[in-house]
Amino acid sequence: MMSNKTVYSYTGIFETPNQIVEAAERAVKEGFTKYDVNTPYPLHGMDRAMKLPPSKLGYVALIFGLSAALATALVLGWMSAIDYPLVVGGKPLFSFPAYVPVMFEVTVLTASIATVVAMLFFFFKLPNIGHPLHGTEYMKKVSSDKYGISIKVNDPILILPNNLFDESKVVKFLESVGAKDITPVYWDEEEINYQNKILDPKFMAFLVAVAIITCAVTYFSLNVLMNITPFNWMVEQQKLSAQQNSNVFKNNSGMLAPIPGTVDRNSMPYQYTGQPDSAGKILINPIPVSSESLRKGQIKFDIYCSPCHGFYGNGSSRLNGQFPNPPTLHSDKIRNWTDARIFAVITDGQNVMPSYSSQLTVDERWTVINYLRSLQRAFNAKESDVQ
């Protein structure tokens, strides 16, 4: 050896694809294992010549693809059926066919990224810019129009008993297969002896710069960028909103109280507030019982009454046990009340029940009462009702 540099491999160059395939076959026959063939493009039949086992990257794609498909189905199901149930077009919450497009896209994305990452960073151990073959004449030739073979000197069949390698053997082999430009490739001394120093000033400066930039960008994004609204014509309109000041009116208020004595359209004064019993004696239900009025009454009953009294008026609702229990409407007391007495309760409220006069019009209250009567009759049916 002419210098104290460490040899990495011996390289040889070939002119034609046939020669390099033959050289690779010979290398296998001779028992070389730590050799490599470098060609500017993939050569047909080279894998067979080198006796390489089939690539296992297909399994990476398979495993990641299947996992992604399954995980997406589960995540989508959880999101749209459990965590935030969303009914669309009356379809089931877990509507698998609608998940297929997203599942497919996520599967392709995951499997593609995983396969490429696995190949570049785990199979090839790239990036590796410091490899001994880089920066050599050999690399220049095999990247362009020549075909090369590179035999590492730590190949087991080259190792001599004294732990050195058999230089003549590798050179003789390369000559015998017709290689030209047989040259040794050395390890880069700097590369071998290089040691990472955490406290290197340049590295520390880099870290500080990264920290400052990260802080500045985060501050800017959160405190400045997020508060910029490019335009808000839709929010700022020339009109008065409730509770806003206004100079137009004398009291500087945008909201005006109705003029004293104003009466809403369609509203009738109710003079029995606080006197439910007298209301029950005097008022008469003006709405006749018909299937139409019962249906209307049912809708209103289900909306306003059922949350506490239950859909059947028997007091069994989701409020049970969380609130003073709402009473059943099938008690003798209520069944014996007149329609007007119930009307008074709906209008004024009673105990913890508030007034429903703002939610239900006068007519609606009477239809609700009609419907309640039908419920009471259904739950306390007599023999004669059945016939």
Binding site: Y41, P42, L43, G45, M79, Y84, M139, P230, W233
Partner: protein, 456 residues
Amino acid sequence: MDSVDYTVEIPVIEGKTTLGEFDELISRPTITNPDRKYYIALSISLSMLGLGVIGLTLTFYYGIGMWGNNIPVAWAFDITNFVFWVGIGHAGTLISAILFLLRQKWRTGISRFAEGMTIFAVMTAGIFPIIHLGRPWLAGYLFPYPNQHALWVNFTSPLVWDVFAVSTYFTVSLIFWYVGLIPDLAVLRERTVNKIKKIIYSIFSLGWRFSNRHWQHYDMVYLILAGFATPLVLSVHTIVSFDFAVSILPGWHSTIFPPYFVAGAVFSGFAIVQNVLILVRKIFNYEHIITLNTLERMNKVILLTGSMVAYSYLMEMFIAWYSGIQPERFVFINRALGPYAIEFWIMVSCNVLFPQLFWFKKIRRSIKMMFAIGIFVNVGMWMERFVIIVTSLSRDFLPSSWHHFTPTWVDFSILIGSFGFFFTWLLLFTKALPVVSIAEVKAVVKGSQPTHGIHS
């Protein structure tokens, strides 16, 4: 020329070029300084881009009212442009993935360029759904992320599928493109004498060593990616067509939409790739790499997909009549004879009539004719999307809510700007990266592969 011997495969690369000459030829544009023609082209495309920027600035400042869109025509130029540009991208993936799986060697000369066009086209397309939101800074709401509102996006909506499809398509195309670029970047790394360029190429080629132990896995990954990209490209325009087909609007609510849209996408994509390649082979002297035979084959694909599109038009009309649904029949009569009749007949003549000229071999092999037909096809395909979107929206079920859409100059400036955006990227690409895959071209040159039978 008269009698063709079909038993002999037409060579992909014409003439005798040595492997080293390919390096020289393909890397030359990345080394030499741009000439006057390049600067003129760049200034034109940058001016177009500038016009688009003005249109977008006005849109962001004053709001979406700068466009001609109004209810019921809420989708007009914005979505037309989106569908058009996504469609353009499909040709690249078809060339790089589907033709790869079909072992079509002629794709090698054009695949890199077509893939680049895919990426730029999808980038251009991606602008439109975002600006059409009206408040584009809220685009992040489209993605499902854990948020304070404790709600998730509606995964049964085609608009959400679209977000996943287009973003996946862009990412996978970019990965595919980059994987193909690694060996070529390594070639440039070995050739360059510029120190800064050497560092950049070294970083992006990741220290590729042309090792056969790597080529083996590399080929496998290329095959896997092609296998994924093939259904992916079909899924993307299918999902784009779902944006229309899943709605109940007459003229949109149709099961023919997915295959019809995919065929149309490949049709317009091939036309624009063919147009741009004619210019590229002329400017960079790649006539023997991107050969006339390759262009002729592309014209055959245009003819095939154009006929599929024509069939879809006919079938759409037939089903409208055959279904017996009044609004459906009305839409198609309205398309042909209504206020947008001019656009409709431009679409029919450009998409149905002109591509049929490719039945003649003379026209298939005439550069001038194919260039003109390519432009017609793209005009026609843009019109197709416009006709589908605007005619259906402007006259739906209720005549009292009909509305005629008239584009404003801002609409046009954004359309021109999208072409500027696309061609600016494309021009920068031709100067920055090898526009033809060096490794792939070398592998298909005559005599570059070992003669089989001797060793095995």
